[in-house]
């Protein structure tokens, strides 16, 4: 066993060795170790290189706030993760870990040259250092900065793990299972509420795990803890470990990321790696505790320099001494206890340097009893050692004057600048903070959410205070939820709360320009950078933050924000509360993309809606295209056909004989009630009063701005019932718009809307043989032009199924749309195909549908319109019920700019050469020889090769186009300019003779 492992100490299993590798070296730890504690037990502090200067770094903390000890972990193929905090990753046999930011080796790194060129990398260096020549930015400077600065390398393999998510509703969510959180959960749960207690660590207990000497209720801390956890379980509290509350959102929604498998040697079946919980809590109790503050002095980032509380955790929780010969520098009492605990376990304490003149007599006596040299009113002005701290320079401070330094040999230097309440989650809620002048820190003040803060999170130090406050806040939360609750009182013995002082940089006798006193370890920001930022004109803490990047790393300033603020405030000559704190952003700790994606990846990435007939299309080789969430058959190529050939054949066959088309995706809304016609009159531009039951009409829907929003054929089934169809993509939008008007403007109308899109499978049959095909299936219904003329609808039985049969056409051919209950759609389709063999029935897709309608000049909303096209612009002025008192958009149509003669209007375009197909979206000019930039008068909206016209056709929006029939326009393309003639948009059968069959 390594000499740094303390037998019998900590919560690791000393009888259960576990081997893993770090940079290829086999490391033996103990079950219960983290990577950091196992490496420290083996005497290794050097675990990585820093972000900007590539300085050697070791762990400075023992928890999730760790900024330095970021490693790569690999659990198998596709299971590499960069930037894992070594202080949080539990070890298991075979775990592979690597250090980061080093080339070629962790111990000898070429990038460390940055450290010597540090003067180039001061605050805002990227704005200043790399200014000239400008052309160097893209090719030299930026690639160099990107390569040199940064942390781990992104994984290159696809992630093979699975991720999950769940919703959780709980009455009380307690974040943090330290003494305050445990007591809060208990108080709330004792009233019968649903309580959830989460903690980011592998086990619950928080500070109790590092302070086993405390006695609670006469029980040793760890015995009390075990008892509490068992009791909470019995009370039905949902206990979740390895679960981080990553963000606190509106209305008490808290995001939790639960890590399920990263600590396991073998992956359990059907178990995701991580699960994101979206928790909706009646009350949230934040019991996140406090984070220890580093001291700011030259060389405070050397491996071996760490927070005193972290050393105490490594000793008491993991049974690891962080060094043999330890120096301590502190401005707070708590560091003494770390020193005493280590001294009692065999480490030699070289010196305790306290910045304060006055120290508690009891602590002084304890130092004396252990023979620990104590230097009051002293400072630390530097450290030495390349890959590990070897000595620390200690100077007396007298009357503001820093005396001569004396070096103390040490292999670890513990520092403590006091404690900062963890305000991150509270800060997510935009709760306000108040400055506590005594503690020199911010405390939570006004809450914006149903939230309580307990324990050290609101500045209460010590186990006793945390227990008491937890119970109080738990009861408070229960009372807020209407429960009768009382807080129990517990007594903790051997508690060591302590007090301290706050500092900016420690006083030094060194020139300020040389000092590398780090404030933000992860982003390599020094005190000097912060002062430089203020000197260069940054006044707001927000600007100082962005200019220096202080607090902007993935640790979100857990260690740096308060020190950064104090130094900036000092440089500005203002008190801290006037300077203010920057906002902490979620997530609290770095969270994998997998956790956010959850189930939504691979086949489950996004919903794909399929019609009842989709399976037939798939079996018959359809090429699909997405249309909103649906996938629709675009065309049905035969062997050897490309899209143009297939579409041309489908168009020809439909016009010659019969085409069949799956129109099930069309939106359908059933408008029912005594005021149905009144509602339709107000909603659509067209008049509806005179539409008789059994007849159908093309309906046009505008926004209140007068622009076309949607269109579709609408059938009147009865006086009080309309079958409205919408575009595929517009279905949900149109229903929402209608409901909006109905509920907010016209709540007096007795009319109701029901989406029936999915109730019906819709089969469109078009072509001269359409009637002949369906006649045998309609139970003797008269389908003749007199009984069922163009634009009519009838309810009938089709192949024995209830049916709404429309005679309508979006192709210009004789057309029917058969609506049958969705479950029968496929069977009806199959039977039609089978029965229509003699008519050479041709299935066609959306592309052919687009061509056929363009040949007739029918618009597609969203293709030929773009949200700025009025009915008159689109040549649909005939659809306006001009005599109606009102309809949505009517007033807007009278706006001066909507009646201008020179508006862009929909016209047809035929290229002069008769062969060139224009590009959709191409811009149109009147004079191709004008100087650039040319005056654009419009653009091509639709363009196809038309079999019926025997040439390419196009639709376009052109300024004043309807008054320019026969004129030539020009379409400049990269390689040439194409001339085209403005025509009517009806290219085929302009008299609609083919509809009258």
């Amino acid at each position: 066993m390594s000499k740094f492992r303390v037998a019998g100490r900590g919560r690791v299993r000393h009888d259960a060795p576990v081997s893993f590798t770090f940079d290829g070296r086999t490391i033996e730890g103990r079950q219960g170790d983290t990577v950091a504690s196992a490496l420290l037990a083996n005497g290794t502090h050097l675990m990585g290189r820093s972000f900007k200067y590539h300085r050697p770094r070791g762990p400075v903390a023992a928890g999730s706030e760790e900024p330095n000890a970021l490693i790569g972990t690999r659990r198998g193929k596709g299971q590499y993760e960069p930037n894992t905090r070594a202080t949080m990753q539990e070890i298991w046999p075979g775990l592979t870990t690597t250090s980061q930011n080093k080339y070629p080796h962790l111990k000898f790194d070429l990038g460390a040259v940055n450290d010597r060129a540090y003067m180039l990398f001061s605050a805002g260096f990227y704005y200043k250092t790399f200014m000239w020549p400008a052309s160097f930015w893209d090719k030299v400077y930026e690639p160099f900065i990107r390569a040199a600065a940064g942390l781990g390398v992104s994984p290159t393999e696809e992630d093979v793990d699975t991720y999950a998510s769940r919703y959780l509703h709980t009455d009380v969510l307690v974040v943090g299972a330290g003494p305050a959180g445990l007591e809060a959960a208990r108080a709330a749960a004792s009233t019968g509420l649903r309580v959830t207690l989460v903690d980011e660590h592998a086990e619950m207990g928080g500070a109790l795990l590092s302070e086993p000497h405390v006695q609670i209720d006469r029980l040793p801390a760890w015995d009390w803890l075990a008892e509490q956890i068992a009791e909470l379980q019995d009370m039905g509290v949902k206990l979740m470990t390895r679960t981080t509350a990553i963000g606190y959102y509106h209305q008490n929604m808290v995001g939790l990321c639960q890590k399920l498998t990263d600590h396991l040697e073998t992956q359990p079946h059907d178990t995701p790696r991580e699960r994101l919980w979206r928790v909706r809590a009646g009350q949230v109790i934040l019991a996140q505790g406090a984070l220890e503050k580093p001291l700011v002095f030259d060389g405070n980032d050397r491996p071996g320099v760490m927070l005193a509380g972290a050393a105490q955790t490594y000793l008491n929780r993991f049974g690891v001494r962080v060094g043999d010969e330890i120096a301590v520098v502190t401005s707070h009492d708590s560091a003494y206890h770390a020193a005493f605990d280590l001294a009692d376990c065999g480490s030699r304490i070289a010196v305790i340097v306290d910045t304060r003149a006055l120290v508690d007599d009891a602590l002084v006596a304890e130092c004396a009893r252990r023979g620990i040299p104590l230097k009051r009113s002293h400072t630390v002005t530097g450290t030495a050692g390349r890959l590990r701290v070897k000595s620390v320079t200690v100077n007396a401070v007298e009357g503001g004057h820093v005396g001569k330094g004396r070096a103390y040999k040490c292999d670890a230097l513990l520092m403590c600048g006091g404690w900062t309440p963890s305000l991150h989650l509270f800060s997510h809620t935009k709760g306000s903070l108040k400055w506590d002048a005594d503690a020199q820190t911010f405390l939570p003040d006004r809450m914006t959410e149903a939230c309580q803060i307990a324990g050290a999170g609101r500045g209460l130090w010590g186990i006793s205070a945390a227990l008491q406050d937890g119970a109080t806040m738990g009861a408070e939360a229960a009372r807020a939820l209407g429960r009768d609750a009382a807080a129990r009182a517990l007594h903790a013995a051997h508690d060591r709360p302590g007090t301290g002082a706050s500092h900016t940089e420690l006083p030094t006798d060194q020139p300020a320009s040389r000092a590398k006193a780090f404030v933000d370890f992860q982003n390599d920001v020094t005190a000097k950078d912060l002062r430089l930022a203020v000197k260069e004109g940054m006044r707001s803490i927000e600007h100082v933050k962005r200019y220096t990047t202080n607090g902007m790393a993935t640790d979100q300033g857990k260690m740096s924000n308060i020190n950064g603020l104090n130094i900036a405030a000092d440089a500005l000559g203002k008190p801290a509360p006037q300077v203010g704190l920057t906002t902490f952003r979620p997530p609290y700790t770095p969270t994998s993309f997998g956790a956010f994606a959850g189930y939504h990846r691979g086949d489950h990435f996004e919903l794909t809606r399929r019609t009842p007939i989709d399976g037939w299309a798939e079996d018959n080789g359809a090429v699909f295209e997405p249309v909103s969430l649906w996938r629709r058959a675009r065309y049905f190529p035969r062997p050897g056909e490309d899209m143009d050939a297939a579409v041309s054949r489908e168009c020809r066959a439909t016009r010659a004989s019969l085409g069949i088309f799956d129109a099930s995706t069309l939106g359908k809304i059933e408008v029912v009630g005594p005021d149905a016609a009144a509602f339709m009159n107000r909603m659509y531009t067209n008049p509806w009063d005179k539409l008789a039951p059994g007849r159908a009409r093309y309906g046009l829907l505008l926004g209140d701005d007068g622009y076309i929003r949607d269109d579709g054929v609408i059938g009147r089934l009865a006086d009080d019932r309309f079958h409205v169809t919408t575009t595929t993509g517009g279905a949900a939008r149109v229903l929402n718009m209608m409901e909006d008007y109905l509920q907010t403007e016209w709540s007096d109308l007795k009319v109701w809307l029901t989406s029936t899109t999915e109730n019906w499978a819709v089969i469109a049959l078009n072509g001269p043989n359409a009637r002949k095909l369906i006649a045998p299936f309609v139970d003797g219904l008269d389908l003749g032009d007199d009984a069922l003329p163009h634009m009519s609808v009838t309810e009938c039985t089709f192949m024995g199924h209830p049916c709404r049969l429309f005679r309508i056409s979006f192709t210009g051919e004789l057309g029917f749309e058969i609506n049958v209950p969705a479950r029968h759609g496929r069977a009806v389709w199959d039977k039609l195909i089978e029965a229509a063999a003699e008519y050479d029935i041709t299935p066609y897709g959306t592309e052919t549908m687009h061509v056929l309608r363009a040949e007739k000049g029918f618009i597609i909303v969203g293709q030929d319109t773009d949200g700025t096209v009025t009915p008159d612009d689109a040549g649909l002025g005939w659809a306006l019920g001009r005599k109606k008192a009102d309809f949505v958009g009517k007033r807007a149509l009278m706006r001066p700019d909507l009646v201008l003669a020179n508006r862009k209007q929909l016209v047809g375009l035929l290229t002069d050469d008769g062969e060139t197909k224009l590009e959709e979206g191409a811009q149109i000019v009147l004079d191709p020889d004008q100087p650039k930039p040319m005056v654009i008068v419009g653009h091509v909206t639709s363009s196809y090769n038309s079999d019926a016209a025997g040439r390419p056709i196009a639709l376009a929006l052109i300024e004043g186009g309807q008054g320019k029939m026969g004129e030539t326009v020009h379409i400049p393309m990269p390689d040439r300019t194409i001339a085209a003639k403005i025509t009517s948009p009806q290219f085929y059968d302009p008299n609609n003779d083919r509809l009258k069959l």
């Binding site: 979206r278 489950h604 649906w630 059933e670 109730n759 019906w760």
Partner: protein
């Protein structure tokens, strides 16, 4: 686990020690709308009990009526037992056949309610046995009926069903592995 539309036939979809998902046979389903002043007249004419409280279910014979909102009820009846739909109602109302709009899945088992939390943002505890709600599952609108403590029915628009049900099936395995 991916489920295709053609996999969706009545019968077992997924099963584990934690939960079971079955697709149910088709039923007759109607959306009924009427304003509160006309509720009683409409109920009398249809010879159905129309519950007043949102989320409550009333049963008339084998016909179930769920109040989905202040002016909205969902009527579910065995196929062929829809006499109410042809009765004359003079009071203003809207009755629309939506039998084929949704498919229905039954979710049972000791972790049935936890299974719903994979995709449903609503608190399952807020739906008492014998009640129902319109809510979301994996971003699709669904109607959730709680027939018993561990017995749910989910009505979901047919094109959304394969996506949602594949998550239910995956959840069956995930919950069983816990």
């Amino acid at each position: 686990m991916t489920i295709h539309p053609h996999d969706l036939t009545p019968g077992k979809i997924a099963e584990s020690a934690a939960c079971k998902v079955h697709m149910l046979d088709p039923v007759a389903r109607f959306s009924l709308r009427a304003h509160e002043p006309e509720r009683k007249a409409v109920a009398d004419a249809l010879e159905l009990d129309l519950p007043w409280y949102v989320g409550d279910v009333a049963k008339t014979g084998e016909t179930e009526v769920l109040n989905l909102g202040p002016d909205e009820w969902l009527i579910v009846a065995p196929e062929g037992q829809t006499d109410f739909a042809s009765r004359t109602v003079d009071a203003p109302h809207a009755l629309t056949d939506i039998s084929d709009r949704e498919l229905t899945f039954r979710i049972t088992g000791p972790r049935a309610s936890d299974l719903l939390t994979l995709g449903c943002p609503r608190d399952p505890d807020s739906i008492k046995p014998g009640q129902g709600r319109r809510t979301l599952f994996d971003s699709a609108t669904v109607v959730l009926w709680r027939d018993g403590e561990n017995d749910f029915r989910m009505d979901i628009w047919r094109s959304f069903a394969p996506h949602a049900v594949s998550l239910l099936a995956l959840g069956c395995a995930e919950l069983a592995a816990e």
